[in-house]
Each structure stands twice: as structure tokens, then as C-alpha cells.
């Protein structure tokens, strides 16, 4: 519900209406405001108004010591904290040249994939709600709670973990957590099938999703889309496979791709990603090596002057950290590439020509987290 | 309905009718006018009930008070630009007023002259079922023609409301 003052009843020569979806609308997943101009029900133009969550993560990063960076990254893309932490840790490790013990690598992959499923589940539930199927939100929350339990047992927090650090991870898996993971894996595939039957199998929803919000291969690349949004358009690019980090070079997983790039494809790609992520979790839990989880590091990290870019595949796409070090305890420039920012640009291109009723669904289908968009 | 028409009820309904019509004409906003109109329609439905025309009363509500009013309001909504604008009078409305007033006076005179030729409330009339039998029996022909009229209006409405391909 946006405030009345921001809502104008504008009458232009063509009789168009200007709408604000957001800045506080449940379907915008936080704070994204779309100024939508409509002609009747049809959207003529859409402009994203950002800045409602601009809180200076990049600026604050210049005043944080290197091992404090993960706390900021956690709160950037708050739905997938592990990936943010991992990207910053990778960048620092690359700058400083730190060897990470193999077990840490595997734990990073393990937790990362669990977090990926949790994040997708959050998307899945809200997407169902955008579509108007209220029950689905609760069913996906049921699985998300199981995942959050695992994450809490391992890291101590439900969302902002501060678990992955430069040099490794802070703690090993506990016995409780491991049994929880195994219990989760036993039921997850069946649950996912149930979700897919419930939401994706619904003919009315299929009718609404197919052919809506199409982004073809070329414009997807031109718009800089990454992750599931890109793969739905038929580009099989995945950082985990093409630039392996953590333990992904030793893991087997498939990369689902779509064909048409419509909302249905984006939906299906994410579902399949969850399945593959569960597969990775299974491999990780089976193949977890023994050993330390943290490299020996000095108390204060002072990388040499230099610059680096490290990226991971977050649930929303390529999450990269661009770090410029000047030799002091804090970075000179800390920048991170937010995949959602590019998804918003895609949204601006996708919306015109569709109906207002589809706007919420399309916003849901590209999976945006404003926290990372505005940094 | 009872044999005699209840005076106070009639007075209220008549007042509602006429007041609503005046309200509609004096409204400076089309939305208000439309709402007044539907009020008049409801009041007239009440008068129909007084006249033992139960079926007509229901149809009056169904067609005039709701469906037509909804469509009218819908049109007002679609022609948004004039939404809040006051209803503009024609440049010179005295002539219209005089003509309408004259009509009213003549009608009044006529009614006063001969209106009560038929004043006794007759026996209880037949009910809705009888009306149905009449409609589908004796008056089938106009019924069929009315169906054609509805078809024509459908064709016409579709013809005008479809986008013109340029």
C-alpha cells in the first residue's frame, strides 16, 4: 500500500492512469516500487523506483575489517546469507592468497545448497501467494522451517549466519545437524513433488504463466541476467560449473535450462534447481572429508594492494564481490554485484504490454531481493 | 398486497421517486446523478409492489436499479476525464424548462380531468405464474421480437466497442 500522496490520479491526453505498485506491496518482496502507467488494464510503461532500502553496505564495507565483511554481506541478500558471505570470503582469500582446508570447502557447498533451497522456498511460497494460492505459502514454509532448523543448528542463526569467513568456516557440522539433514533429505523429494503438483500442476496457473513475460536469449544476455532467470532463457551458464569454487568441481549436478524464457520457464528452472541442490546436499553429506574447518590466519588481515573479483552462484544469480585493497586493514573499495539489480532492469522491459494483473506475478517470477539491489 | 394501497407507504415512495429525480437533475456530478437514478428505480420498484406487480418490481431492481446503473457507472468510470467535472447545463435551459413544465401542466390537467374515471381498486389480480402464462402464451410474438431486439443491441454494442483496426 503506497501512501495516497504518492498516488496521483493523472489524466493525460490518452486517458492513461499512473499506478504505484509498492513501495510497500506484499508482492514486491520488500521494497520495490514500480511506477506503472496503464491504459485500462494494459501496462504501457514501468519504471522501478529504488532507494527505499539504500543503507550503504558498500560504503560501510570500506570501514569494516576484512573478517567483518560477512556480517554486511549477510544482510545484503538476506535470503541467501551463506552465498554473500562466501563471495566476500572468496574475494579476501584470493587477495590474500589463503589456502582453505578441504573440509571447509565441502561445508561451504553443503550449507550453500541448503541455503539455496531455503531461499527458493521463500520465493516459492510468496510466488504462490502472488498467484493467489494462499495455501501454498504455508506448505513451502513447512519445508523452509526444516531448512532453517538445520542452518540454525550449524551456524547459530536462522538467517544472518556469519558462518563463512575468510579462511574457512567457523564451525563444523554437529551430529544433530547431520541427522536433521538426513531426515530432511529423506522427505524432501516427495515434498517437492507435492508442491509441484499443487502449484505447477494447476492448469489455471499454467494458463497464467505460459507465454507471459518472455525474455529471449539475446535480451537476457544484453540485460546482464544471471542465474535462474538467464537459464530460463536458454543460456546454460552457471558459476558453480563454469568457475567452480568451494567443492563444486568435485560434485555432480545438472543445470536446468528453459526454452522460451517465459514466467513458466523461470518457475520450472527454479523447481529443478531445488532438486539438484538436494542432490548436491546428499553428495556433500556423504563425501564430507575430515580435517580442520579453518585455516590458520593472523588476527588482522592486511592484504597487499590489489584488486580482485570473486563470484558465486547465489539463488538469484551471479553474486560477485569486487574488492580493492590498499594495504590497510579495511578495503579501499568494496563493491558487490547484485543479480537482482539486473533482474529489475529486465522487469522494466518485460512489463510493458502485459496486463496489470500479471505485474505481481512477473515481479514474483524474477525473484528480487531489494536488500541486495540497493545495497 | 392488500386490497387497498397504504397511503403513507405510497406517500413515502412517491416522495422518494420525485425527490430522487430532482436530486438526479440537480446533481452537479454524474456519479451522484447515477446513484440518485438508482434510488428512483428502487422507489419505483416499491410502487410496483404497491400495485401488486411483484414480478415487475423484481425485474425493475434486477435490470434498472442494478444492471443498468452498474453499466452507467461503468461508463462514467471509463470516461474518466469527466469524472469529477460538474454536469454542464445547456446554454439556454429556460426553453426546455418551459416545455417540460408545460408537459407536466397538461398532464396534470388531463389527469385531473379524466384520471379518476377508474378509481376503485379491483380485486386481487393474478400472480406471477399468470403473467408467465400470458407472456409465453398470448404475447409470444412480441417476446420473440424483443429477443431479436436484444440480439440487435448485442451486435450493435459489439460493433461499436470493438477496437477499430487502423
Amino acid at each position: 500500500m503506497s501512501p495516497r500522496a504518492a498516488e496521483h490520479v493523472e489524466h493525460t491526453a490518452t486517458g492513461r492512469m499512473v499506478f504505484d505498485v509498492g513501495s510497500q506491496h506484499p508482492s514486491t518482496h520488500g521494497l520495490l516500487r514500480l511506477a506503472i502507467e496503464t491504459d485500462g488494464e494494459e501496462i504501457v510503461s514501468a519504471e522501478a523506483c529504488l532507494g527505499f532500502l539504500h543503507r550503504g553496505i558498500e560504503k560501510l564495507g570500506e570501514h569494516r575489517r576484512y573478517h567483518q565483511l560477512p556480517t554486511l554481506m549477510d544482510r545484503g541478500d538476506y535470503l541467501s546469507g551463506i552465498h554473500g558471505e562466501l563471495a566476500s570470503a572468496l574475494a579476501v582469500e584470493r587477495l590474500r592468497g589463503i589456502e582453505v582446508p578441504p573440509k571447509a570447502h565441502w561445508l561451504r557447498s553443503l550449507l550453500g545448497e541448503i541455503n539455496r533451497i531455503a531461499s527458493h522456498m521463500a520465493w516459492y511460497g510468496t510466488f504462490g501467494r502472488d498467484a493467489g494460492v494462499t495455501s501454498h505459502f504455508f506448505y513451502s514454509m513447512r519445508d523452509r522451517e526444516a531448512l532453517l532448523d538445520i542452518l540454525e543448528a550449524v551456524t547459530g542463526q536462522r538467517m544472518t549466519f556469519n558462518y563463512v569467513r575468510p579462511g574457512g568456516v567457523i564451525a563444523d557440522l554437529t551430529v544433530v545437524a547431520e541427522s536433521k539433514i538426513r531426515r530432511f533429505l529423506r522427505t524432501f523429494d516427495a515434498h517437492l513433488d507435492e508442491h509441484q503438483t499443487f502449484l505447477g500442476g494447476n492448469e489455471l496457473l499454467q494458463k497464467r504463466l505460459r507465454g507471459v513475460g518472455v525474455i529471449d536469449r539475446d535480451s537476457a544476455m544484453s540485460l546482464g541476467l544471471t542465474g535462474a532467470n538467464l537459464r530460463a532463457s536458454g543460456v546454460p551458464y552457471d558459476v558453480r560449473r563454469d568457475r567452480p569454487y568451494a567443492a563444486y568441481s568435485e560434485l555432480e549436478f545438472g543445470i536446468p535450462i528453459g526454452t522460451t524464457g517465459d514466467a513458466m520457464d523461470r518457475y520450472l528452472v527454479r523447481i529443478e534447481e531445488m532438486r539438484q541442490a538436494a542432490r548436491i546436499v546428499r553428495q556433500c553429506i556423504e563425501g564430507l572429508p575430515e580435517g580442520a574447518v579453518m585455516a590458520k590466519l593472523p588476527k588482522a588481515l592486511r592484504p597487499r594492494e590489489g584488486e580482485t573479483y570473486a563470484c558465486v552462484e547465489s539463488p538469484r544469480g551471479e553474486l560477485g564481490v569486487h574488492l580493492v585493497a590498499d594495504g590497510s586493514e579495511t578495503p579501499r573499495r568494496f563493491h558487490y554485484r547484485a543479480p537482482s539489480l539486473f533482474a529489475i532492469a529486465a522487469l522494466e522491459q518485460m512489463l510493458p504490454g502485459t496486463l496489470l494483473a500479471d505485474a505481481a506475478l512477473l515481479v514474483g517470477s524474477v525473484d528480487i531481493v531489494p536488500g541486495e539491489v540497493e545495497r | 398486497m392488500s386490497e387497498t394501497v397504504s397511503g403513507p407507504v405510497f406517500a413515502i415512495l412517491a416522495f422518494a421517486c420525485i425527490g430522487g429525480a430532482i436530486g438526479m437533475l440537480s446533481a452537479r456530478n454524474t456519479i451522484h446523478a447515477a446513484l440518485w437514478l438508482s434510488e428512483v428505480m428502487l422507489a419505483v420498484a416499491g410502487l410496483y409492489l404497491l400495485l401488486s406487480a411483484e414480478y415487475l418490481a423484481v425485474v425493475q431492481v434486477l435490470i434498472y436499479a442494478s444492471a443498468m446503473s452498474v453499466v452507467v457507472l461503468f461508463i462514467i468510470m471509463l470516461t474518466l476525464r469527466e469524472r469529477e467535472g460538474p454536469v454542464r447545463m445547456a446554454d439556454f435551459s429556460i426553453g426546455g424548462g418551459i416545455l417540460a413544465g408545460l408537459t407536466g401542466v397538461i398532464l396534470y390537467m388531463a389527469l385531473a380531468d379524466r384520471g379518476d374515471r377508474i378509481s376503485a381498486m379491483p380485486v386481487e389480480p393474478s400472480g406471477t405464474a399468470a403473467l408467465g402464462e400470458l407472456l409465453f402464451g398470448r404475447w409470444t410474438l412480441p417476446l420473440e421480437v424483443a429477443a431479436l431486439i436484444l440480439l440487435v443491441s448485442l451486435v450493435a454494442a459489439v460493433w461499436w466497442s470493438r477496437e477499430v483496426d487502423s
Partner: protein, 101 residues
Amino acid sequence: MAVGPSAFMGVAAVLFSLGLYGVLTRKNAVMVLMSLELMTVAACLNMVTVSRFVTPAEMTGQVFAVFAMAVFAAQIGIGLALVLAVYRQTGSIELSSKKAT
């Protein structure tokens, strides 16, 4: 207190006159259509009154009123479609050649 037919017909006459006034003086097409509805209702009321008082058994007036309602509903429907078509082209719903009568 008995109410005779002339009372009902009087109400109808007032409605009719008011509707006529509206048709003659308003420039807004929707207002004109609404005034026409008012006149229609007046005519229907007249018929129902007569039906009740003159031909209670045959109910001819009620039949007539049913047809009048159907026909005028169709007419108003056409009229609104036309108003909309005109509005789309010109952006105005005022009657162009409305002269004071």
C-alpha cells in the same frame, strides 16, 4: 386511505416531465441517457397502474411494461456503447448539436 390510479399516474407524470427536462437541458450524453431512463420508468409505471386498475385479470399493462423494459434496456445498452465509441474518438461525452429547445 385509498390511493387511486391518478396518484400513481401523477407520480409518473412528474417523473416524465422531469426526465423530459433533463433530456432537453443536459449536454452530457450519460445524463441524457439517464433522463431517458427516467421517462421510460414513468411510462412503465403508467402502464402498471392501468394494468392494476383497469385490466387486473389480463395484466396487459404488465406485459407491456415487461416489453418496454426489455426494449429500453437494449436501447440504453446501445446508447452507452455509442457514447463510449464517441468518447474514444473525441475524448468528450457531450452531445454536439444540443440546442436549447
